[in-house]
């Protein structure tokens, strides 16, 4: 009984999703709701203007990548998504995994560029959470019902970063972590198996 809203999460995935992070060091620093709100507005404006703007697909991909690297704590998200396997990974495996995670994420986001043409968004209220600030937005795509998308923003190394995107109640980082956890569980909890699967994903 999956409803369409459940799955809107995944449409949120592609463009907005960009991921999430987990840096325990960031807890000490605090971020004001107003700053977080402004940050989401700016980042969202940049993403929307790239998606709706002129330019070739290749050009747009490069621009999107730059915005995402600047505003999303991709490495933090990658570490979170590895779950308990984080402790078992060798340093080499970990760095290879994080690199692959970056590429998979960018692929997932840029692969669906066309579907987001005409996207608009409106920033709503911002609320402090136990860790970071949650900023509510409503994302409108042509031919689609409006989607509630919440952005979790945290202070990472002195600047605000997006660490999670929650579309219609479904968290991107938790969903991704479940996917990897299940894959690991079915493949002898081998980090190498996960790395190989991600490589195959990028080739396919």
């Amino acid at each position: 009984m999956l409803t369409r809203r459940t799955l809107l999460a995944l449409s949120g995935f592609a463009l907005i999703a960009a991921g999430s992070g987990w840096l325990s060091e960031a807890r000490a620093q605090s971020l004001s709701p107003a700053t977080a709100q402004q940050f989401v507005q700016q980042t969202g404006d940049q993403l929307v203007s790239i998606v709706n703007g002129p330019g070739s697909t290749e050009q747009k991909k490069a621009e999107l990548q730059a915005v995402i690297n600047r505003s999303v704590d991709v490495t933090g998200v990658a570490r979170f998504c590895l779950g308990s396997a984080l402790r078992r990974a060798t340093p080499q495996q970990l760095s290879e995994y994080i690199q692959l995670f970056h590429e998979v994420l960018m692929n997932n986001i840029t692969g669906k560029l066309g579907e987001y043409r005409g996207v608009r968004f409106a920033v709503g209220r911002a609320e402090p959470r136990a860790v970071g600030v949650e900023v509510h937005t409503v994302v409108n795509r042509p031919e689609n019902a409006p989607a509630n998308v919440d952005w979790i923003v945290q202070d990472v190394g002195g600047s605000p970063k997006i660490v999670d995107v929650v579309a219609e109640g479904t968290s991107l980082r938790i969903t991704q972590r479940s996917d990897y956890a299940s894959y690991l569980a079915r493949n002898g909890f081998s980090v190498q198996a996960l790395i190989d699967a991600m490589k195959r994903q990028l080739q396919g």
Partner: protein, 253 residues
Amino acid sequence: MSRLRATLLLSALLALAACAKRPPASDPDALQEYEQTNDPLEPTNRVFYAINNGLDTVLMRPLAVTYKTVFPEVVRGHLHNLLANLSSPVLFANDVLEAKSRRAGDTFMRFVINTTVGVGGIFDVASGWGYPSHDADGGITLAVWGLPNGPYLFLPFLGPSSPRDVTGFGADIALDPFNYASHHGWSTFNWTRFGVSAVDARARVLNETDQIKQQALDPYATFRSLYRQHRQSQIEAVESDNRHTIPNWFSSR
């Protein structure tokens, strides 16, 4: 019809069930994953997932693609509004059972406005008039009553579920007045409504499901996670809706 059917289905499922092996305590990571997913029937669930997936590939997905190709978004939107309006009685009953009077009021007003001004529900006028739509169903009601979710179930045809949601699903069918009408032609009407609803629901998630199947390493686990998170957020939305019953204009006088 279907409360019984759902119960039978559930017992058949439980009888068939092969259980996932619980990892030993010496492997705390594996044990933790096992506890978190709460999917002791996973091997059986995966069999049904594979069957459903096969049926979807040859039947539901092609139907949904055709439906989206043949009808423009405007027509599909109106049809969806019409179907949503027809489910108002069940929605209203659940709002009441959840003891959320403002939600029940919203549903009542939506039904009245959309059935009349909205020409039988084709146009969703009420949303613009301050009566937005919301979710309510038997599974959510049972959750609000404090019934635990129980283990994850993947059911033939119905997809992701749980004992609580299956029970709620059966209750919704029992609550639907259309299922009790027995005049000539009603059975055709009900089957048509059922069929069109299924195609509408499938078409509305077409891009998203395609994307999950393409991008997830384990689509079964991804759907499981999305389903659980989404249901939880729907339940929280109901529980946190504590609007007063007395209108503002009255209490502020």
